[in-house]
């Protein structure tokens, strides 16, 4: 006897046909996809040495040679923005992987085991959640340098919220027939986790992880703005920081990198919203009916 397919996949198939009703998801996916593509293309899109200086070209406005202009050292801003995408999304990827692994495992196991384990995990989650990570990031950069240590720190502090969500979802799944059946058949926690829990929590986790991504981009840009970025890779926040004395004379130095940050964060936020709407089609349906008019009430 096969277990009934999880409710979610049925709902998803139905919703996708009406994708146009989810413009947030579309826009979010498009913007994020754009940034990801740029990041993956990296050198192919913007070849050359990203830090090449040029006295003759410094502070040039956007032109055919330099699509986004140059900075105060004559470095091409388009190259900087493209490579910066690679850097930022690299950090996001690292953080998302660490947070996802820890969050899913901890959250699901905590729900499956229950009891004392669950209590302990909840306390750990709360402890990690209360610690101000921007402050820790400043500390970590001072001690261990910028770059990878910061990624690790952000990963180690981004998982609690995901763990909570996964735990909540797993709790509701735990009572489901197919899980009990699997348990009765002798499956261990890990097996249950991998084969039953994970596929079902993916949508919920995706909502949270997209949000994590957007927060990480802003955090990393903020650190770079304070001068705490890795000087050996291009970074949007550092570009915006460099632009400060030139705001009145070279607007392109601030607008393009700042805009890149805004577009990326916006894309991830919309993606998160869109996925949440997808996961909760009942509310979207309510929304549509309500918008359509009062006809939902009495006729």
């Amino acid at each position: 006897m096969t277990a009934p397919p999880p409710r979610r996949s049925r709902v998803r198939r139905r919703s996708l046909r009406n994708a146009a009703h989810y413009p947030a998801l579309l826009a979010g996916a498009l913007l994020t996809g754009l940034v990801v593509t740029v990041a993956l293309l990296n050198e192919r899109l913007a070849p050359g040495y990203v830090f090449a200086t040029s006295a003759a070209d410094r502070l040039s406005p956007p032109s055919v040679d330099h699509v986004m202009g140059t900075d105060q050292l004559g470095r091409d801003l388009f190259t900087g923005v493209v490579r910066g995408a690679h850097t930022s999304l690299g950090v996001v990827a690292g953080v998302v992987v660490i947070a996802a692994v820890i969050g899913v495992v901890v959250g699901a196991l905590s729900a499956l085991r229950g009891g004392v384990v669950d209590d302990v995990v909840l306390r750990v989650i709360e402890t990690v959640q209360t610690v101000p990570r921007f402050f820790l990031a400043v500390l970590v950069v001072g001690w261990f340098g910028p770059g990878t240590p910061v990624t690790v720190l952000l990963g180690l502090t981004s998982w609690p919220f995901l763990a909570r969500v996964v735990r909540a979802e797993t709790l509701s799944l735990r009572e489901r027939a197919f899980v009990e059946a699997a348990r009765a058949a002798g499956a261990g926690d890990l097996r249950v986790l991998v084969r039953h829990v994970v596929p079902n929590i993916v949508p919920g986790a995706a909502v949270v992880l997209a949000l994590v991504g957007s927060r990480v981009v802003l955090l990393e840009a903020g650190l770079a703005f304070l001068g705490l970025a890795d000087a050996n890779v291009a970074s949007w926040g550092a570009l915006v920081n460099n632009a400060q004395p030139y705001l009145a004379t070279a607007w392109w130095m601030s607008v393009f990198p700042g805009g890149a940050i805004a577009v990326t964060v916006l894309g991830m936020n919309l993606l998160s919203d869109g996925l949440a709407g997808l996961a909760d089609p009942m509310s979207a349906a309510h929304e549509r009916r309500w918008r359509g008019g009062e006809s939902s009430l009495g006729g």
Binding site: V50, A55, A163, R164, A231, S283
Partner: protein, 700 residues
């Protein structure tokens, strides 16, 4: 929606967006960008800034040439008449902005751009002087935008930190003042000792200072007066200066100083009657020529004897600890300590010393110091009127500020912590991980990459120092032409330094065993690898780490990084602002470093400490950071400090410079003047010293 407990609450959707709404997002983003572009694009100062810098350099060169020939500075009209200046017009339209006078247009033709004279204390070079005598505005508070936050150190005798000196130097006095060119005049010493007046004897080995009388310390009261006296001088040298001041302790050896017990028996202090004034005799073991250049408030600020507090940790052996010495707040200066953290947290305040011994001074009632963590915020504060004076105008903003008639700027060769500074790239000559002791006694192994002088030479050739200056520091300064700053005695500017040449750099590296196939390392393409290198395996990439200890160097290092990449060197930059100076140098864990070394007013003061083998230090400012040991150079310095004859002395320093140009322990980049900015209604700043506001006044 997900609540804090992680429960998905059904029936509470986030609400979707319609397509129209998203289109509106895009439109608003576009409008925002347009508004930003429209509002922030002002006059492009690019053309003007280039013109300003060219004119400023032309003027400076002409002034220096005139000084070299005639021994004094001349005004613009004279320079033009004598043929030192060509081009430009002198319309005789004098406009005074702050303490500068603008005399027309420079060769670039831009008005207000740089034919300016700074009015100084030691006589203005402009006939008629600056401003009108006798109408100085009294009173008011000067608000200063500081570059560094304050810390526990309020004593400028125990520290050479630029921040400490900028904040607190106004509370102190030295023994002998120096003007911007280094010419001495009496301060707490009543007379400048010379051979002629018997102040200097024994061929320059004995100095007798007669002290000024009736100078009161800040804590002096009518009930119990506390006068400055000879005992104070001896105490300050013994307990503070000769132990803790990075430059002044350079005289410790010749003075026979016992640092373990902080005793200088060769200093003989005799108080005047009533413990007021007196004489102090300095008996050096051999002639010590630079002495008079090391007695101003930056090099030898005076503390009251036995004035250390109970700050922790306590000193040992009767010698105050660093913490105790740092906490001293009592001086004789024009301003005295008032408070910190008022009106805002982080601020500092000094108020007028009503009993200041220079009668009539100071004019201001108080100075309020406010720190800024960001350059841009500090500059905005000046332009917006939140502050009146900033120590350091960010290089990109200098031209715009100068063009603004409501503000004045003054460039000076001094940083807060010392004059005549030079950016120097430091090559770690010894292997990473070597102990300080092994470097000092010569047993440490050479650095595998930088130990080869041809590699160092290649790096020097690869760096375009004009770009370093123009791009990295916005043209403020001039490219070094000698290891000793051109502003200091003994600078030999005719010894050629390695010129910018990519081909020479490449061939040197090829010959040094770095001609292997190229690889990509990180973001850097085309990096050389070793082939037939004496110590490193074939295929090792040529990666040289640059340790950056301070954020001010960021743009300049970016230029070096690009220059080195062009010859196949990968130069990752690591930023270490915490403890870079102390802990990194105890195990020499760096390849390249950069320091802005203050040369002082005499090579013995600020230059010797970079090259003499007895300066390979464990603590404090990294003197001799390269780990350089050359007995011939040591001998040059040891001899020069005792040589009275100027020509012979210059020859010794010339020999030293020739040797270090051959050995290249450092790469001398640029000389770094700093630009102070202030609102034009304030005047009288002596911008080359921390005692900058002694005769300053603000109208309105």
């Amino acid at each position: 929606m997900i609540d804090r407990m992680g429960r998905l609450r059904r029936g509470t959707g986030q609400g979707g967006f319609t397509l129209i709404e998203l289109l509106v997002v895009i439109v608003i983003l576009g409008i925002l960008a347009g508004v930003v572009v429209f509002s922030v694009s002002g006059v492009t100062d690019k053309g003007e800034s280039a013109a300003f810098q060219t004119d400023a350099r032309t003027l400076r060169t002409a002034q220096e040439a005139y000084f070299a020939k005639f021994g004094e500075y001349a005004d613009v009209q004279t320079l033009a008449d004598e043929g030192f200046l060509a081009g430009g017009t002198f319309t005789g339209n004098r406009t005074e902005k702050g303490n500068t006078i603008v005399l027309g247009t420079g060769p670039s033709g831009k008005p207000n751009s740089a034919y300016t004279i700074t009015c100084g204390e030691n006589g203005s070079p402009v006939p008629g002087g600056c401003g009108t005598a006798g109408t100085v505005a009294r009173g008011g508070t000067l608000v200063v935008g500081e570059t560094f936050a304050s810390n526990a150190t309020t004593n400028v005798a125990s520290s050479t930190g630029g921040g400490t000196h900028a904040w607190w130097e106004t509370m102190y006095n030295g023994l002998i003042e120096l003007d911007e060119a280094g010419n001495p005049s009496p301060e707490l010493a009543a007379v400048v000792p010379t051979v002629g007046n018997g102040g200097i004897t024994n061929g320059g080995a004995t100095y007798t200072l007669t002290l000024r009388q009736n100078v009161e310390w800040h804590d002096s009261t009518t009930a119990s007066p506390h006068f400055f006296n000879a005992e104070d001088v001896k105490w300050t040298f013994e307990k503070v200066l000769l132990r803790l001041h990075a430059r002044t302790r350079g005289m410790a050896a010749t003075l026979g100083y016992d640092s373990a017990n902080c005793r200088a028996d060769n200093i003989v202090a005799t108080n005047g009657a009533g413990s007021n004034g007196g004489t102090v005799v300095f008996n050096f073991n051999s002639p010590y020529i630079p002495f008079l250049k090391q007695l101003n408030v930056t090099e030898a600020a005076m503390n009251p004897a036995n004035s250390v507090s109970g700050a922790f940790p306590v000193g040992t052996n009767g010698c105050p600890s660093q913490a105790q010495a740092d906490a001293v707040k009592v001086g004789t200066g024009p301003f005295k300590f008032d408070s910190i953290n008022s009106p805002s947290a982080g601020d500092g305040k000094v108020v007028r010393n009503p009993k200041y011994w220079k009668s009539g001074l100071p004019y201001l009632d108080a100075i309020l110091m406010r720190p800024f963590t960001a350059d841009a915020a500090r500059y905005n504060a000046l332009v917006n009127g939140d502050v009146d004076f900033v120590w350091d105008v960010p290089n990109p903003n200098v031209a715009a500020l100068d063009a603004n008639p409501a503000f004045g700027i003054a460039a000076t060769q001094s940083l807060g912590g010392g004059p005549n500074s030079v950016d120097q790239v430091i090559f770690n000559l010894k292997a990473s991980g070597s102990t300080v002791a092994s470097v000092a006694n010569g047993t440490a192994p050479d650095h595998p990459v930088l130990g080869n002088v041809n590699v160092r030479r290649a790096i020097f050739h690869a760096i375009n120092r004009d770009d370093y200056l123009n791009i990295g520091r916005n043209g403020i300064g001039n490219v070094s032409r000698s290891p000793i700053s051109s502003q200091v005695f003994g600078a030999a500017t005719d010894i050629p330094l390695p010129a910018f040449s990519v081909s020479t750099a490449n061939s040197l590296l090829d010959g040094a065993g770095w001609n292997g196939p190229r690889v990509t390392v990180g973001s850097t393409p085309n990096v050389r690898t070793a082939l037939g290198h004496p110590t490193l395996a074939d295929g090792t990439p040529l990666t040289i780490r640059f340790l950056q200890g301070s954020g001010i160097f960021t743009d300049r290092l970016a230029v070096i990084k690009a220059n080195l990449a062009a010859v196949g060197i990968d130069m990752p930059i690591t930023v270490n602002t915490t403890n870079a100076n102390t802990q990194v140098f105890t195990n020499r864990d760096f390849d390249l470093y950069i320091i802005n070394y203050a040369n002082g007013y005499d090579p013995h003061v600020g230059v010797r400490r970079q090259y003499h083998s007895d300066q390979i230090s464990t603590t404090g400012t990294p003197n001799n950071a390269a780990g350089y040991r050359n007995p011939a150079v040591d001998a040059d310095f040891d001899q020069a400090v005792q040589t009275l004859d100027t020509t012979a002395r210059a020859a010794l320093y010339r020999d030293f410079q020739q040797r270090v140009v051959n050995d290249l322990p450092y790469a001398w980049m640029i000389e770094t003047p700093n630009v102070r900015g202030f609102r034009a209604t304030c005047t009288g700043f002596r911008v080359w010293t921390g005692l900058f506001a002694e005769s300053a006044s603000c109208a309105g």
